[in-house]
Symmetry: C2
Subunit: 520 residues, 2 copies
């Protein structure tokens, strides 16, 4: 563990990485944090906050870039440890490392550009009648130390130095990370990369700490700690809602950004099925089985009107799925949950099994495709529960209205994809307003499993896909989660923060009396 500048062997229970493929325990043994470790981390984060948030943009941006470089410098040791702990193959882990590093570098650009500060200046009007107007300036400031919970399914891109950490650090918030027990070795390596960057950037040690938790006490204690001002979490609905409850019951409630569960409906329109049902079926299985189906945006629900097109799609999907190799899942526990979810669907009296992928060994997930009627789907809310892994459910709808009824009945989702031909545009246009209310991202003729780290990305959505649909956890907009506005009235120039000074030393875009003015 890293408590500020110290590397500490935890004393509260033992945590070991497990080989995802074989289930065997890995060396070394890590130790869980005590309450004192938690207290030390939060105290250091709080002490570091003012210094860190007042670093100039260049220092903070260079710090994020140093983390990225240090992660790359870990080289193959990181890749191999991560592969062993997660069961994910080398190209995926290398790709994910690239994304993690790219994300840190993109946030460095965001920090340099400074647009996130949303600087506004309403100059004084001393002669205004009946009352003079004061000089008013505002900017966004960071909320304070942030707790980040690593996710099991993205051991790099959504874990210790993942999106939540990158956006919180970019905002100016110290981070206390809780390592996911599924990849302690990976977490330690990445944590060391951050700790090194803190030291080499001359930042106060409390900017980053990493804790292991042998149970749930430390994670829950972190959310309850009065010095923590926001929480980033990616994981199960049960885990997320438990943290939301703790945060809401604090003396000072704080925001929880939990990304929890989503079945990501895919809607196949008539014209698209007529044109290319087979191709869609094959592409769908490719998306479904990618990374053993362990994506938040995995296509878990297919909606279409009954007919020849749907049958062709189903045949193509079934044929492709039967050939799909089983893949090792992230942890034995996740594998077990997946098997239970699949068994429940297979045993449901209104659900037929369309196809299964190849059987695997040990903790490999066997892909599964099921089908049911819209009537049955609407009658049983359990059918819209996420089965984490490569399992999907096709809902046969007798007509267009039934498709709409099913969408209406869905809970909030991260994504929805529609597959359309030009002849489907009028019908798609009718459905779009409903989809906008249900999801954070709408895709055409694709699947949600590729989540681009960009300015216009929204990886969020109405509850329960996330705890707070007003935000995103991927893309540059994610920085807004960790900011709050402060207004300065009639401060003399000598006391104004640089960001809102007339001289605009950081060359920021500003809203002057309501009009946007670019930096140059």
């Amino acid at each position: 563990m890293f408590i500020g500048a110290r590397a500490v062997q935890g004393t509260q229970g033992e945590i070991r990485g497990i080989s995802a493929a074989t289930g065997e325990k890995l060396d070394p043994a890590f130790g869980g944090a005590t309450k004192d470790d938690l207290d030390d981390s939060c105290r250091l984060a709080d002490e570091a906050f003012d210094t860190y948030r007042n670093t100039d943009p260049e220092t903070r941006a260079a710090f994020l870039e140093a983390i990225a470089q240090n992660i790359l410098d870990l080289g193959d040791e990181l890749v191999e440890r991560c592969m062993t702990e997660s069961g994910l193959p080398r190209p995926r882990i290398e790709g994910e490392r690239g994304r993690t590093v790219g994300q840190l570098r993109l946030f460095a650009q965001v920090v340099r550009a400074g647009r996130y500060l949303d600087v506004r200046i309403d100059p004084a009007m001393p002669d205004r009648q009946p009352l003079p107007r004061p000089d008013l300036r505002s900017r966004m400031i960071p909320v304070g130390p942030v707790a980040v919970f690593g996710a099991s399914n993205f051991p790099l891109a959504f874990s210790v130095a993942g999106g939540d950490t990158a956006s919180a650090l970019a905002a100016g918030c110290p981070v206390v990370a809780k390592a996911h027990s599924a990849h302690p070795g990976t977490s330690e390596l990445v944590g060391s990369a951050i700790q090194k960057a803190v030291a080499s950037s001359g930042l106060p040690e409390g900017v980053f700490s990493l804790l292991f938790d042998s149970g749930r006490e430390i994670g829950q204690g972190l959310v309850a700690d009065h010095r923590i001002k926001a929480v980033g979490f990616t994981g199960s609905r049960g885990g997320g809602t438990a943290l939301m409850k703790i945060a809401a019951e604090r003396k000072e409630p704080i925001p929880v950004y939990a990304e929890m569960s989503s079945i990501n409906p895919v809607i196949l329109f008539e014209g698209a099925l007529k044109e290319r049902a087979e191709a869609i079926g094959k592409a769908f299985v490719g998306s479904l089985t990618l990374g053993a189906g362990q994506f938040c945006t995995n296509p878990g629900l297919i909606l279409a009107e009954e007919g020849e097109g749907l049958n062709t799609f189903l045949s193509a999907a079934a044929e492709t799925l039967k050939e799909a190799a089983a893949s090792t899942m992230l942890t034995p526990g996740i594998h077990q949950s997946y098997c239970q979810g699949v068994e429940a669907l297979a045993g449901h009296n209104q659900v037929e099994t369309v196809a299964r992928g190849k059987a695997g060994e040990n903790f490999q997930g066997q892909a599964a495709l099921f089908a049911t009627s819209s009537e049955a789907f609407l009658a049983d809310p359990h059918l819209q529960e996420e089965v984490f892994g490569s399992s999907s459910l096709v809902v046969r709808c007798p007509d267009r209205d039934a498709v709409r009824d099913v969408v209406e009945a869905l809970e909030g989702q991260l994504t929805a994809a529609i597959h359309i031909a030009e002849s489907d545009y009028p019908q798609a246009k009718e459905l779009l307003p409903l989809l906008e209310k249900k999801v954070g991202r709408i895709l055409v003729n694709g699947f949600g499993t590729g989540v681009e780290v960009a300015h216009a990305m929204v990886h969020g959505g109405p509850y329960p896909s996330t705890a707070d649909g007003r935000s995103t956890s991927v893309g540059t907009m994610a920085i807004d989660r960790f900011l709050r506005p402060v207004s300065y009235q009639d401060l003399p120039d000598a006391l104004l923060p640089d960001d809102v000074k007339d001289s605009n030393p950081h060359k920021l875009e500003r809203l002057m009396d309501g009009k946007a003015v670019l930096a140059d």
Copy 2:
């Protein structure tokens, strides 16, 4: 009441306005809403949502302006009813009406400018390696129907057509307002102005409803209703936290923007006291007794180091306060709470009474100024509870560190004011980072009681001054509370909403590949 286009006499209990000055009941009798009325209002709001949110900017802006005009057209009937129900004098009510109307017109400008939509476009890169980049576009969309609770202390500017309603309507959210029982007649008049504007603008009737509540059931039911997606509230801490609890326990939790309580510390620095202690003392009493002290930003706490300067300030404040006339408070209930709060301070064994204003009659509040030591203040958390009305507590600090200790111990506040001379700048600079963490607005050499409706205004602050310190309830930034982002991936131009089309028909500022591009 107004349930969409219908004017309805409620049947659930009787609600009557009360003359704030005399306590006598006013005609007519209003009736409380039933659960069916609540259900009808929410259903209509939900049905109106898609049409309303897709109105073009000009229609929505003109609608806000029509509300403003209709309020002015109510003429003296509104002013007089409002004066009677609130006990506030004519200039204040006319000023507040001006603010209410100005606020609606300002949001009309915000709607026309469209910057709040935060349009972002990341064009496709089909040739990118290793994977092509999709076309990604995002914009903000409204969250859905909003429940607005009228405030007692701003019967116009923070009630039926007040800041929360204006910002929610501007965002594209239908509003179901719950009238404050302290001014039912005012609420009905203002509600009729909105209803008329809905009809004349050709909008669906559900865009606005107004409910009376003879108890708490309708207000609570409104927050619990699944069609309501956010809540705006200004009032007591007890009321606000009760709504937060209901919202957090919903199947789908929703954001509550409750503005609750604040004592707005005023810190008097040595140099300023040396230069102008007497003037500050007089100005302070002016701010304290304005509107019978019934402002959220009323200066309820004064901090200064002991010494000659503080003594001069206290003498001047005491002299001025003794001459301050008692003023009618908003309701007999508020007057009673004020008297209890003042009595508790007067009877506190560590608190001395510095001065009282002139005694009044009926429900007039008698101003009060108390003093205590920083030691006593730090020892008793009850001393930082808000006494709503013109009561303030001076905390004598033995030294600079004690001032800081008191600020550290404060809960979140809406504002903090510092009074400084140039010689105080270094010391003020040291304190500013701490103040930024405690409050939403920092003022120099003034008092927080004037809240400018502007782009750079933050009328918000860390808990418990508000439920959600990431936002403001006054100023144009308030629109952000009722928005959430949606991303569109690879949509053909024909299906894209106008806001994110390449052709940019609404001439919006956009973020193109991370670079801001102005409309012209």
